[in-house]
Symmetry: C2
Amino acid sequence: MTSTTTRERLLGSARTLFQRQGFAATGIKQILEVSDAASASLYHFYPGGKHDLAADAIRTSGAEYQALVESVLDSAPDPCAGVRACFDGAASTVEASGYQDACPIATVASEIANTDDELRQACADVFDSWIDAAAKRFRAAGVKPAAARELAVTFIMLLEGGFLMARVRRDAAPLRRAGRTMEALVRASLDS
Amino acid sequence: MTSTTTRERLLGSARTLFQRQGFAATGIKQILEVSDAASASLYHFYPGGKHDLAADAIRTSGAEYQALVESVLDSAPDPCAGVRACFDGAASTVEASGYQDACPIATVASEIANTDDELRQACADVFDSWIDAAAKRFRAAGVKPAAARELAVTFIMLLEGGFLMARVRRDAAPLRRAGRTMEALVRASLDS
DNA sequence: GTCTATAAACCGATAGAC
DNA sequence: GTCTATCGGTTTATAGAC
């Protein structure tokens, strides 16, 4: 019995559409159609309209993806295998969705970085949280704090670059390639 | 005497606006205002309208950025210093523009990857061309062809991830950090 | 909370004179 | 090649009944 509220459907549709098409190209009308909801419902739950909805989409999608990455990292025998599994899993997801689903926030982040400081900050918070989560695990594996953080930043940069490359070229191989590179970087940090 | 034609102004404005705001958020009206041109002029030079203009913007911006990267790589004493100079230069440009100007095509590429196959292919061609240019130089420095290409793909992924991270967090340090990582990866490939 | 109807502005694109 | 004027459609957001 999976009863979904109108609010849940609105947020869910918005998250998917923003992820795949970006902020500007996704219309309120389209979100309402996919959600099978009325216009007034959206403004009831999100008085600020499209902007409020996007802020919630960024926060919740960021948190969900973080939980996924954390579970992958934590179920691997060591951080090397962990980061590699993250990239391999990302590659499989991208392929399975026909190159539609990659990073949940990257397209919106790229669009609004110069034009909407509130949404930009929400995206920055998500990235920071992802970096913290990864850095914490690298430290736990014996990497020094400063190096662990830099490694975590590189992890996210490589993942984002891989997502973009895979989507544009319709080829998940670069993402898997990035995973092996990241694995080597983590290994080098553990040895030193 | 730098006389600019209407066509040049249209393309120039479009390139800047698409780079900073993306495709969907940039209106024809805004492009015309910045270009100080009439609506009919745009459709005279670009019968396909916004779509044609974007295709030209992607191609010309891609070629121009490639020429810049090539000149930086070619004026460095070796590929290690070359890739590092690319990231340091990118970081300086991002900072100098107040975090507005990063990759000329990434925002548009991310937006249209799922929704416009013609523009997606134009972006894919740009990335391929950048990768070829970098791979060629790694080969010339002694890296085996297959490894050189993989190194070049990693170069672009790390650059794109760095651009996004820098813009969203308003901090160019991750981009410089990525440069040192890339330098180490090139050095490791040269030693083997 | 949800319905229907609609306001008010803006969108990309085009017509026709010059 | 460029001007002015404008078309038809869509956009975000709101009003008022229920």
